[in-house]
């Protein structure tokens, strides 16, 4: 068994309204930060997982995203394992 550190980034799907991102972008600009665009806000889930190999971890985490961590209709997920 090996230990893997996993990180899942869950972002609102492109093209859908992102009220939080929009509001944070306006506030950063009002604070004087220049050259900003496309500010978006999402969730990050980090976890540790014991498994035989990487691909087992990858399959499990994909399954977690589909079942719980990401909303299939409004969110996309990205998995990082090291």
């Amino acid at each position: 068994m090996k230990f893997f550190k996993v990180r899942v980034i869950v972002m609102p799907r492109e093209g859908l309204l992102d009220p939080q991102g929009k509001t944070v972008e306006q506030s950063l600009k009002k604070l004087g930060f220049k050259g900003l665009s496309d500010v978006r806000m999402g969730k990050v889930i980090s976890l540790k997982m014991a498994a035989e190999n990487r691909s087992k971890v990858e399959d499990a985490v994909k399954d977690m995203c589909r079942k719980l961590l990401a909303n299939p209709v409004t969110e996309d997920y990205f998995i990082e394992i090291d």
Binding site: R13, L16, L17, D18, P19, Q26, N71, V73, T74
Partner: protein, 662 residues
């Protein structure tokens, strides 16, 4: 125009937007030519079942709509009814069943956002929300996911906007397994002179777009609601609508300030079918035309074509007709609240909707075609064959339960009866400091600051009765709502409704629809309560069962409470007080909750409604309260006497019980 084949591009658009071929040829006949793609998209959206009520308009006319109090009735943004001292109450109910099934959180949240906009489009400040929710059985994880999503979506939106959610219903029945119901009602208060109109007037006046930017949200949303659930609607999912309650709160305050400063000629929410419905409905009501330039519409996404812009259902947007020369004042006001406000067109006297995009006229058609000439269907009706045998079922042939205690506990544990505090505890039901009777009683009561009288509000329906006998079920929904108001001393002054039914192209469903309306109308006429607004939601079908959901004509009723201090709780307060049953207990078990929970049966004759006795009962209740002769009042409904007595004990914060001889 010889009916040859539709050109392929139009055929594809018709399919995508669920417009039938004969409706396409009707448009060609009315226009006297082939429509442009934009005109076709606009018409498909407005002639959808959701917007045009083409299968229901004929029967909705049976409802009584008049009373000396009614200031605005069906056809306006929402109903408005006088409550005295120069004030009026504005209210309406809408359904968001299909979007909530696809994405529960944002589906329900945008349902709240939409109904709020109909209320402040009438000039009223929204003061209360109620939600009537019907889910399937809780024994599968998908349904638990839907319940959690819908409740937290309503909490997310209502709490942030600062409008208290003070009542409603939450029920569970397998008939909704494949198609849940999310009906949201909003109540607002306005002074008579501040009531806003939805009639565009004054050629040359500016047409001003206010609120969030336009994206591809809910494209075909208007038509999606008229679609049964099948694989076909799968690929429409990405166009789900996302709600932004923060922008909505700014919109409420900015619009109310604009009305106060008399800067608005007419206003309408960009609801289903967005820019198309708001512009054409305001134009048609005012008998004028509107010219739009889509290049000026604030867009959130690049490369949107004219059809997408015209029928997009992005949330938190209003269309305002301003006064010529005062555009800058209005725009500055909306900018103060941090909102986009752009002149996107002008009122004309042509009676036509003219749309320009990238320098080209992409639509030029009479507003009346879009709004008044939608098809009108007189659908065939047929009594369902299952009904006769089901109603003949002899309820008393069932074995009497040996262990009554077990039955009692089973009924108490039923999620439709057990305390719904887990739901309304998540809603801010106190913001606004007007909620004088909190959720959990028979009806909620709101004070109106500045005047003595208060408002009683409730929403009711017993779908099991409507399934067995829609006529009696329709009557019972009205009677129970009125009785719930009487429990808090409120005299009914008007109703709104959300008529949730299956596919109207099935004669059995149409029969259920017509009978429910006739039953409701009979009770409404007898009690002299007008219908001032409402909504019809068809195509609530359940693919797995291959059947429509139970007919669910939800009634939202508002009444006036003369003296708030004379209201008594809906639970026992002191020992030794006598418990009095008003009205005849009757032995009807048909369609009862007992049958459903214990015997898993919906059968027999539902309890008949004696309107004369009902009216007398309600008058007596109001009299008892006004003379302070009682310490508690509670309605006997689902679960009968046993459950009513249990509710009176459990809800009290003191340890009280009861003993009765049956």
């Amino acid at each position: 125009m010889a009916q040859k084949d539709i050109n392929p591009r139009h055929k594809a658009l018709c399919k995508a937007l669920a417009m039938k071929e004969e409706e396409y040829w009707r448009l060609v006949r009315l226009l006297g030519r082939e429509p442009t793609e934009t005109e076709l998209g606009m018409t498909a959206a407005l002639w959808s079942e959701h917007c045009s009520y083409k299968s229901s308009r004929l029967h909705l006319r049976k409802f009584p709509r008049k009373s000396w109090r009614v200031l605005a009735g069906p056809g306006e943004n929402a109903g408005a009814v006088d409550i005295g001292d120069g004030y009026a109450v504005v209210f309406k109910m809408e359904s968001h069943n299909h979007p909530s099934f696809i994405e529960p959180f944002h589906g329900a949240a945008t349902g709240v956002g939409g109904i709020l906009r109909d209320i402040f489009a009438m000039g009223a400040r929204p003061v209360a929300l109620l939600d009537s929710l019907r889910f399937g059985n809780l024994d599968n994880s998908r349904m638990k996911y839907l319940v959690d999503g819908v409740v937290s979506g309503i909490a997310f939106y209502g709490n942030c906007v600062g409008v208290p959610t003070i009542g409603g219903e939450t029920d569970f029945d397998p008939s909704y397994n494949g198609n849940i119901l999310v009906n949201v009602m909003c109540v607002g208060v306005v002074k008579h002179e501040r009531i806003q109109s939805a009639r565009a007037e004054g050629p040359g006046n500016p047409v001003i777009y206010v609120g969030s930017k336009t994206g591809r949200d809910g494209i075909g949303g208007a038509t999606m609601a008229s679609e049964e659930f099948s694989d076909e609607t799968e690929e429409k999912r990405p166009s789900v609508q996302i709600g932004d309650p923060f922008t909505e709160k700014l919109l409420i305050e900015a619009c109310l300030e604009a009305y106060e400063k008399d800067l608005v000629v007419a206003v309408q929410d960009m609801g289903a079918a967005g820019l198309t419905s708001s512009s054409s409905e305001m134009a048609a009501k005012g008998g004028v035309g509107i010219e739009l330039d889509l290049d000026r519409v604030p867009l959130r996404e690049k490369g949107m074509n004219a059809v997408e812009i015209m029928i997009s259902e992005s949330q938190e947007r209003m269309l305002i007709i301003g006064r010529k020369g005062e555009e800058r004042r209005l725009i500055r006001l909306f900018k103060k609240w941090g909102l986009d406000a752009v002149v996107v067109g002008r009122v004309t006297d042509s009676g036509k909707i003219v749309v320009k995009h990238k320098g080209r006229v992409v639509a030029d058609m009479p507003a009346s075609i879009l709004v008044d000439d939608a098809p009108l269907y007189r659908r065939p009706v047929k009594e369902p064959s299952y009904l006769h045998e089901l109603r003949e079922f002899d309820v008393f042939s069932l074995p009497e339960p040996r262990d009554l205690k077990n039955v009692f506990e089973k009924l108490l544990a039923w999620p439709g009866i057990a305390s719904r505090q887990w739901v309304y505890r998540q809603y801010d039901h106190m913001v606004g400091t007007d909620t004088v009777v909190l959720p959990g009683s028979d009806a909620a009561v709101l004070r109106v600051k500045g005047i003595k009288q208060a408002l009683g509000v409730t929403s009711d329906c017993t779908p099991r009765y409507c399934y067995l006998d829609p006529f009696t079920g329709g009557m019972q929904a009205v009677a129970e709502a009125a009785r719930n108001l009487a429990c808090v001393g409120a005299k009914p002054i008007g109703i709104t409704d959300c008529l949730n039914f299956g596919n109207p192209e099935k004669p059995e469903v149409m029969w259920q629809f017509v009978k429910s309306i006739e039953g409701m109308s009979k009770a409404l006429r007898y009690f002299q309560i007008p219908v001032v607004s409402g909504n019809v939601s068809f195509y609530n079908e359940n693919e797995a069962l291959g059947a429509a959901v139970h007919p669910t004509p939800t009634v939202g009723m508002v009444g006036i409470v003369e003296d708030v201090n004379k209201i008594v709780p809906a639970w026992f307060t002191e020992e030794e007080h006598a418990i009095i049953l008003l009205g005849s207990p009757g032995e009807q078990l048909g369609g009862s909750l007992y049958l459903k929970v214990v015997h898993n049966l919906v059968a027999g004759e539902p309890p008949e409604v004696d309107l004369k006795a009902e009216k007398a009962l309600q008058r007596t209740l109001r009299e008892l309260l006004s003379r302070c002769l009682v310490s508690a009042v509670h309605d006997v409904s689902d679960g009968g006497l046993a459950i009513a007595l249990a509710e009176c004990s459990v809800a009290s914060s003191d340890a009280v019980g009861f003993s009765v001889e049956v």
